[in-house]
């Protein structure tokens, strides 16, 4: 066997443009680009559809009335087009569910990240993922069949449908999200900080509350925002549990209506397409889209900064 490399022509600098290989590469590149374009077009599509129909809506209803009106009854006469009650209902549910999910979820995340043995973590994390994978209509079912009677039994003055029903089930629903995102953030706090603190004679509580949690704070905030965004967009459970009464209230035991539930109500009902009533869902959809977008963008921005911090 010879160790001498085979003789070959000197290095040719140029490649032929008509080389089949390059044409193939180019075609693949094109196909992949089109795939990517689709995802971009989706966004454009959402914005265009929502804006187009909403613009027609806003030709008849002023933006000011829409944004500041405190009564929402497009399906009842006389019609009112103030979106605030829907907004209020949406954030009552989102806030209420966060009130349940955040403390519980954060404590769980701390337990899993800082205390639990690997075995417990390996068992509990998948279980919470199961919880996260349960479709939202199932939570709606639970609200109607189990939670609602429970709340009516405890607080007889509560309305039949009420925000609290929705808060409980949506809270349970976003709980796994809070846990898993917060746990990620806690895990991303470099171990060197933990070790540094322990090496100074700190106990577990000192380390967790004094070092880890402050370091992870912005990330945890982002996690909560993402979970809240999810709660804002949650549909089926809220539709089934919270009622269909647009209501400017902060009392969780009254019936309310969220933006999503309103869209479902109209989609299911008799409202003929092309009418003003029908277009309300696009206007409400736009409001919903914008609010979740703001929450998401803000949360992601925070997360991005967290990542940079621990580069």
């Amino acid at each position: 066997m010879s160790l001498v490399a085979p003789a070959r022509e000197p290095f040719a600098a140029k490649s032929s443009v008509f080389d089949l290989r390059w044409i193939f590469e180019f075609a693949i590149h094109g196909v992949l680009f089109v795939c990517t374009a689709i995802s971009v077009i989706t966004t454009v599509g959402i914005v265009v559809v929502l804006l187009f129909e909403s613009l027609q809506f806003f030709r008849e209803v002023s933006v000011w009335e829409f944004l500041t009106g405190t009564r929402w009854s497009p399906l009842l006469k006389p019609q009112h087009f103030g979106v605030l009650p829907l907004f209020c209902g949406t954030f009552l549910v989102a806030g209420g569910s966060a009130l349940i999910a955040v403390p519980l979820g954060l404590a769980t995340a701390i337990y899993l990240s800082e205390y639990a043995s690997p075995l417990v973590r390996e068992v509990v994390k998948p279980m919470l993922e199961v919880l996260a994978g349960i479709p939202s209509v199932v939570y709606g079912y639970l609200a109607v069949v189990f939670v609602s009677p429970l709340i009516r039994d405890t607080i007889p003055s509560a309305d039949l449908f009420n925000a609290a029903n929705a808060c409980v089930v949506v809270g349970i629903m976003i709980l796994p999200m809070v846990v898993s995102l917060s746990e990620d953030v806690l895990q991303s706090v470099p171990n060197s900080l933990r070790e540094g603190a322990y090496a100074l004679g700190a106990n577990k509580l000192d380390v967790t509350l004094g070092v880890i949690l402050p370091a992870a704070m912005s990330g945890i905030m982002a996690a909560c925002l993402l979970a809240i965004a999810r709660a804002v967009g949650e549909t089926m459970a809220v539709t089934l549990a919270a009622g269909a009464t647009p209501n400017m209230t902060l009392n969780p035991f009254e019936g309310i209506q969220t933006m999503t539930a309103y869209i479902v109500q109209v989609s299911q009902g008799d409202t003929p397409a092309g009418t003003l009533e029908y277009r309300t869902i696009f206007a409400v959809g736009l409001a919903l889209f914008v609010s979740t977008l703001v929450l998401n963008v803000f949360a992601r921005w925070i997360l991005l900064r967290v990542e940079e911090k621990y580069e």
Binding site: L76, K77, P78, L160, F161, A244, T245, G255, G269, D270
Partner: protein, 300 residues
Amino acid sequence: SNSATPEAGSSGRASGEGLSGAVRIHGSSTVFPVSQAVAEEFSEVAPNVKVSVGSAGTSGGMKKFVAGEIDICDASRKMKETEREKCTAAGIEFVELTIAIDGLSVVVNPENDWVDCLTVEQLKTIWRPESGETVMKWSDVDPEWPEEPLKLYGPGTDSGTFDYFTKAIVGEERASRADYTASENDNQLVRGVASDKGGLGYFGYAYYAENKEQLKLVAVDAGEGCVAPDETTVRDGSYKPLSRPLFIYVRKSSLDRVEVVAFVEFYIKNVGRLAKDVGYVPVSDETAKQNEEVLKKVLP
């Protein structure tokens, strides 16, 4: 309850098993349960016919009907003149069949000892949109009644019952106060009224019939004295203004297809029993006969 079904094929045109094809129905959500029930039983005799029932609302159904997209349109009101004109323009001929009568019952809590009968005027005072801020207690309706808070229950705004009630009582379709507990789930309405001393609600007569012990029925006075709904008063129209007939409109050209003929015949034959099942009042024998004659005329 489905003892009548095997006869369907006996009309001789075609045996159920051999039928295939599709029947498309759309329209009022009030009529939807009836059509759904008929479709369900029909599919047991003619399993290969794809019957789809949609509920786009009467107006929505009419649009599709005019466009020729569907064979049958469910309607909770008579076809409007404008819609008739459109049909003519589009060359669509049809027959109108009355299939049931819808009666709404107004109910209160059994502990309510001050109300037996409400006038239409009083109902309007309670339900009209402007009352949302003013009528909060029973005493706001009639000063002689106690200061019990008024808790209202009613169907959701996408039900035909709601449309009809608002039209009949307030005078304008969909004109209603918004601060009542709305549910498509009538059982929940029943439970609500049953648990609130000051409760008042309205829904289909059938639900009252099923829950008589928990509720107290209120008679309605439309100027001719108090009338309580029952099968007789609803059918003969003396229970006013909360009873109304329900219709289906069948496109004539669709009747060229055997599966549509079979379906419509099945519909007419069984709707009396099924309407009762789903909570409506069946039409009088007279009307039923009339339906059969109308149909006979257009069948080849």
